[in-house]
């Protein structure tokens, strides 16, 4: 009998959470569509919707309105990749943050701590400063991606201790290697004054000017990686109890950690290669999700992805609107609006959970 009562209680607590996830996804969709109308050129609602609907395979052939080419150009080639870029980058940073915090059992970590950001910066700034063009117009992105992965690999390889990779070692090694590569990046920027502004702009992060050619490979890297990560919520819950307990409940601890770190590295490296370094999302969105849903990764993983996407699309809208005719790096916006909002949420919702 007690079990039946509890089942009802569980169902009661689960369905609002699922509903909340669904609603936040709906909010993301609505926000993304609304974002098409933000920018220096105002475009009629029907035109935007028509261009969007035409891309849906089955519905594509039904519409036969004439669209002004300049509108199509702006909606399809400028705004759409930028908005989708915000969704993909925000989602991968959010989910990557949730995964990394669980692996490290540490609430103040984010995907960047394993060397991702400093590695990406090394590759991108190196390409900018030395004018490397081995990958043609995508050299900055490709080098950012490759160096991010290389740095994570180096951090991981150096953290091995007696057949295991202890979280503390990995964290300290990540921080040390990041400091080292950041020094190299600083040296490169310091010694090339004329390229300082473009290098700094990359470091601060921006979604503006993302093209379909850049975006599509990132989407096809990030989405499968996020899909696989989302299947590992129970393993990540177990890892939060520590390697010893995770092992005792039947998890292949090192293998699981290695695979998840590889997936985070892959998805976040791909993301930052097109966006530059956008901070705050990977650190805070998982906590925002925990405040709303509790700590279980079953909800924290999808919610961190959705909230990360919402937050970044919103921040990009503000970056476009704030100063007309001027491009503000999104990294400035994320900190300026995100931090006060998070402090507000923390006070409002924590209900004692973070007080120990």
């Amino acid at each position: 009998m007690a079990g039946v009562i509890s089942d009802r209680v569980e169902q009661k607590t689960q369905s609002p959470k699922l509903m909340m996830l669904f609603l936040s996804f709906a909010a993301l969709t609505a926000l993304s569509i609304a974002s098409f109308f933000i920018g220096p050129v105002s475009i009629p609602f029907a035109t935007v919707m028509e261009i969007l609907i035409r891309q849906i395979p089955v519905l594509g052939g039904i519409q036969h309105f004439s669209i002004r080419p300049v509108y199509f150009e702006i909606v399809f080639y400028i705004r759409e990749p930028e908005i989708l870029g915000g969704v993909v980058v925000g989602a991968s940073l959010g989910m990557g943050g949730a995964v990394v915090q669980s692996i490290f059992k540490n609430p103040i970590t984010e995907p960047y701590v394993i060397g991702l950001s400093s590695g990406a910066a090394l590759g991108a700034v190196g390409a900018i400063v030395f004018g490397i063009t081995i990958f043609g117009p995508y050299s900055v992105q490709m080098l950012a991606f490759c160096f991010a992965l290389l740095t994570v690999f180096l951090v991981y390889a150096l953290s091995h201790r007696h057949g295991r990779v202890p979280a503390t070692y990995l964290l300290l090694m990540g921080v040390s290697i990041s400091f080292f590569t950041s020094s190299v990046v600083a040296l490169m920027i310091y010694s090339n004054i004329e390229l300082q502004s473009s290098a700094f702009f990359w470091l601060l992060g921006s979604l503006q000017g993302i093209t379909w050619q850049e975006l599509l490979p990132v989407v096809f890297t990030v989405l499968p990686a996020m899909f696989i990560m989302s299947l590992y919520s129970r393993e990540l819950n177990a890892l939060q109890l520590g390697g010893a307990y995770a092992h005792s409940v039947g998890i292949r601890v090192e293998r699981t950690k290695r695979m998840l770190i590889a997936l985070v590295a892959l998805s976040v490296s791909a993301s930052v290669s097109i966006s530059g370094l956008i901070g705050f999302v990977g650190l805070i969105m998982p906590h925002m999700s925990r405040l709303l849903y509790g700590g279980s990764n079953r909800y924290v993983l999808p919610s961190s992805a959705i909230l990360g996407a919402i937050f970044l699309v919103l921040a990009d809208d503000i970056a476009r609107m704030a100063i007309p005719g001027k491009v503000i790096p999104i990294g400035i916006i994320t900190g300026m609006i995100g931090v006060p909002f998070f402090i507000y949420m923390l006070g409002k919702l924590s209900s004692g959970a973070y007080e120990n």
Partner: protein
């Protein structure tokens, strides 16, 4: 389920277990005792396969532990470690459901272990905000939820209030009556004597004595294992032991003069 430890050698830091052999009796409460640093926790980490021994073997139902997958081992053994984990923002129920990983999580089972461990009222509380004693009960509930054949516990009663201490002891006795095998590390030698059917004493990484409590709680053995003389006396709960000299005052006060002279 049968566990045989044969010629186990393992180093952890400057500490070394050498040539440790003993057997765990199925369906019984097996106690491991010894001084701090005698190798009890190191041994426990080897027993559930978290660390691999350098040499020697642990045979579970006749098969070497190395040949078991993590999943198979988790069906055989659950653990309750001394230190509590610190998950980020987990409720008590979140923590316990982790232990259903290998057996298929059912909410009904979760409710019943919450009730068995008298922590149903804590189900939705933040785990990190619980007291040390409550956390211990949650971890025991988790191990019960895992529903394995053997339960390994590292000092399950240390730092508990008197009532929780007694409750955990009754839970352990209850596990035995349900046919489970318990392996428990205990500091408290009186508890080892009273609760366990089979006792293994470790000293400096070696087995100093093994057998039924009556056969290993001998004056020479206790002096050898703990390095002090012990006296034993009869109390209303049965035979008790106390380190000679240190406890003699309390002894006369509590046992109403029924203490035996030094062993």
């Amino acid at each position: 389920m049968k566990i045989e430890v044969r010629g186990l050698c393992h180093s952890a830091g400057s500490f070394r277990l050498s040539d440790v052999s003993f057997s765990i009796h199925a369906g019984k409460i097996n106690g491991i005792g010894g001084k701090n640093g005698s190798g009890k926790s190191t041994l426990l980490n080897l027993l559930y396969g978290y660390n691999r021994p350098e040499s020697g073997s642990i045979l579970i139902d006749g098969r070497d532990i190395r040949s078991y997958s993590e999943h198979e081992l988790s069906r055989k053994m659950a653990i309750v470690r001394q230190e509590a984990p610190e998950p980020i923002n987990f409720s008590t129920a979140d923590v316990i459901s982790v232990f259903g990983y290998s057996n298929g999580y059912t909410k009904t089972g979760l409710t019943s272990v919450l009730e068995t461990c008298r922590i149903a009222h804590l189900a939705h509380r933040d785990f990190n905000s619980l007291s040390g004693g409550e956390k211990r009960l949650v971890m025991i509930a988790g191990a019960l939820f895992q529903d394995s054949e053997v339960l390994l516990m590292d000092e399950p009663t240390t730092f508990l209030d008197v009532d929780k201490d007694a409750f955990v002891q009754s839970l352990i006795a209850d596990l035995k009556s349900r046919g489970k095998t318990v392996v428990v590390i205990l500091h408290d030698i009186n508890l080892l004597y009273r609760l366990c059917d089979n006792v293994i004493f470790l000293k400096d990484g070696k087995v100093a004595a093994e057998g039924a409590p009556e056969s290993v709680f001998l004056p020479e053995t206790l002096r050898d294992v703990f390095g002090v003389d012990f006296i034993s006396y009869e109390s209303p709960e049965g035979r008790r032991f106390a380190a000679a000299g240190i406890d003699s005052k309390r002894l006369t006060a509590t046992s109403n003069g029924s203490a035996e002279a030094s062993l």
